[in-house]
């Protein structure tokens, strides 16, 4: 089977010369839920932006849905099938009202206004957010914003979901809501977080990232974290 996302020897460094990603190889197959854990500044977000074509890889190859990404045109096509949720929901929600924001993606996919409105309504309803539909995006609470940001992406019915720190800075209730949603959702996922517990609940396999290097850590179920004195104490590991 062909992987949906395949990275071969991806390197990325900023124009200043600072190396952020070094020889990253990654394959994500249909139906898999993959977690990516790492500390701040380890290059997780950069990796996601390289996959989406928002940052150009310095070297290496990216294949999305079996097609090599050579130009912006290839990325533009692939992005229609990938749902990307940004770290900061304020960046993602730019329309005046919630309903419009959720309808933005479907409209870009060529749906008619009526279809887009229907899709937006049912997506919001499915997430229990219908009450927010006419609210102005800036007047939402942090948790509501994050849920709506998820809705905007789910409305496009993507083949794969990529989430960048979906629970950071949220209270327990919203955090649980998102955990529950990701557990039950039937989609290929790549979830980035620095919270081990959240990832172990929502993903099946684990990668760790440290100073630009990607390391396979194994099955989520076989991993554990605990407080003890050894170098990998904070990262999930096997004995």
């Amino acid at each position: 089977m062909q992987p949906l996302i395949e990275l071969k020897n991806i390197c990325f460094s900023y124009p200043s010369g600072r190396k952020v990603l070094e020889n990253i190889n990654l394959e994500i197959y249909q139906g898999k839920k993959v977690g990516l854990i790492g500390s701040n500044g380890s290059g997780k977000t950069t990796l996601l932006h390289v996959i989406m074509g928002l940052l150009p890889a310095t070297s290496g190859q990216i294949f999305l849905f079996g097609e090599e990404m050579l130009k912006e045109k290839n990325f533009a096509k692939a992005r229609r099938r990938i749902g990307f949720v940004f770290q900061n929901a304020d960046d993602q929600l730019f329309s005046p009202t919630v309903l419009e924001d959720v309808a933005f993606g479907p409209l870009n996919l060529g749906k008619t206004k009526e279809q887009a409105r229907q899709i937006a309504q049912s997506t919001l309803e499915g997430l229990g957010l219908l009450a927010l539909k006419d609210r102005v995006a800036y007047r939402l609470s942090g948790g509501e914003k994050r849920m709506v940001a998820l809705a905007t992406v789910l409305a496009m019915d993507p083949d794969i979901l990529i989430l960048d720190e979906p629970t950071t800075g949220l209270d327990d209730a919203t955090s649980h809501r998102i955990t529950h949603l990701l557990e039950s959702i039937d989609k290929t996922c790549l979830i980035v977080s620095h919270e081990y517990e959240f990832l172990s609940q929502t993903t099946e396999v684990f990668y760790g990232m440290e100073s630009g290097l990607l390391k396979y850590l194994g099955d989520s179920s076989a991993l554990h974290t605990h407080i003890h004195i050894h170098p990998a104490g904070a990262l999930p590991h096997k004995h």
């Binding site: 928002l54 533009a76 940004f86 960046d91 329309s95 005046p96 933005f104 870009n108 905007t152």
Partner: protein
């Protein structure tokens, strides 16, 4: 920052299709501003007052909106009668106020207040989002419409970022004074705000691109012309025509 306190209410005027309101706000304001005699602006003032009354807005808020324009008018009254050429009407401390000058100041005052009242009744009764959509549907330049809508969305974010920076400065005992340190701090603050706005704009664009944005912005609006809207088109056209008629035919 933008409270839209007059927009989310219900009245006969609030229910008029935003496109009708926007078109007639522009037509009536231009006609008021350009007419040369007293008759047309006075008719317009009546019309604007009627619309404000129909829109059931709190009178205090409306009055507050008239304050800035009338402060400006005050200066006009102080200067115009004494500098305009014409028959002297009265003298103060050797300065003659001309009749024509007084008339002109009165005309400008009526016009300015009328225009503000038209805008309050017709435009501030819709949300900024509705205004943007109405403009879009009326084929205003697309870039202008998006600029309006995106500015509206992010002006609050920028405001909170500004407050955050000011708070951060205050927390470290910054007290503005008239010295170089203060100017420097404020220029850093303004610079930081620009940098932040720029990087936010980049991130927002990235988020839009990730959702399939390719340069065409689709507006999702649900304007539907009702029978009552046609009635309003009729009434407002009648006013507009009456104004033009009075303006062309009417006596000075």
């Amino acid at each position: 920052m933008i409270s839209e306190e007059l927009a989310f209410r219900d009245s006969a005027v609030h229910r008029i299709d935003p496109r009708v309101r926007l078109v007639f706000a522009l037509l009536l304001c231009f006609a008021t501003a350009l007419s040369g005699s007293f008759a047309a602006p006075l008719l317009a003032l009546g019309c604007a007052t009627g619309l404000v009354a129909l829109s059931c807005l709190p009178l205090f808020t409306v009055a507050r909106r008239l304050v800035p324009v009338n402060i400006f008018m005050l200066f006009l009254w102080l200067v115009l009668p004494f500098t305009h050429f014409g028959e002297p009407a009265f003298k103060i401390m050797g300065l003659a106020a001309s009749k024509q000058g007084i008339e002109l100041a009165a005309l400008v005052t009526i016009k300015a207040n009328t225009i503000v009242l038209f805008m309050v009744a017709l435009v501030s009764t819709m949300s900024v989002a509705a205004l943007g959509h109405a403009a879009h549907r009326l084929y205003f330049p697309e870039k202008l419409v998006h600029l309006l809508l995106l500015t509206y969305r992010y002006v609050f974010v920028l405001e909170s970022e500004y407050r955050q920076l000011v708070r951060a400065a205050k927390m470290r005992s910054f007290a503005p004074a008239s010295n170089l340190h203060t100017y420097k701090t404020y220029s850093y603050l303004a610079g930081m705000l620009l940098v932040r706005a720029h990087s936010r704009a980049r991130r927002v664009h990235q988020a839009m691109v990730c959702r399939g944005f390719s340069g065409v912005y689709h507006c999702l609006d649900s304007f539907a012309f009702r029978k009552a809207d046609w009635v309003w088109v009729g009434i407002l056209s009648l006013f507009f025509m009456a104004m033009i008629g009075v303006w062309i035919e009417g006596p000075y």
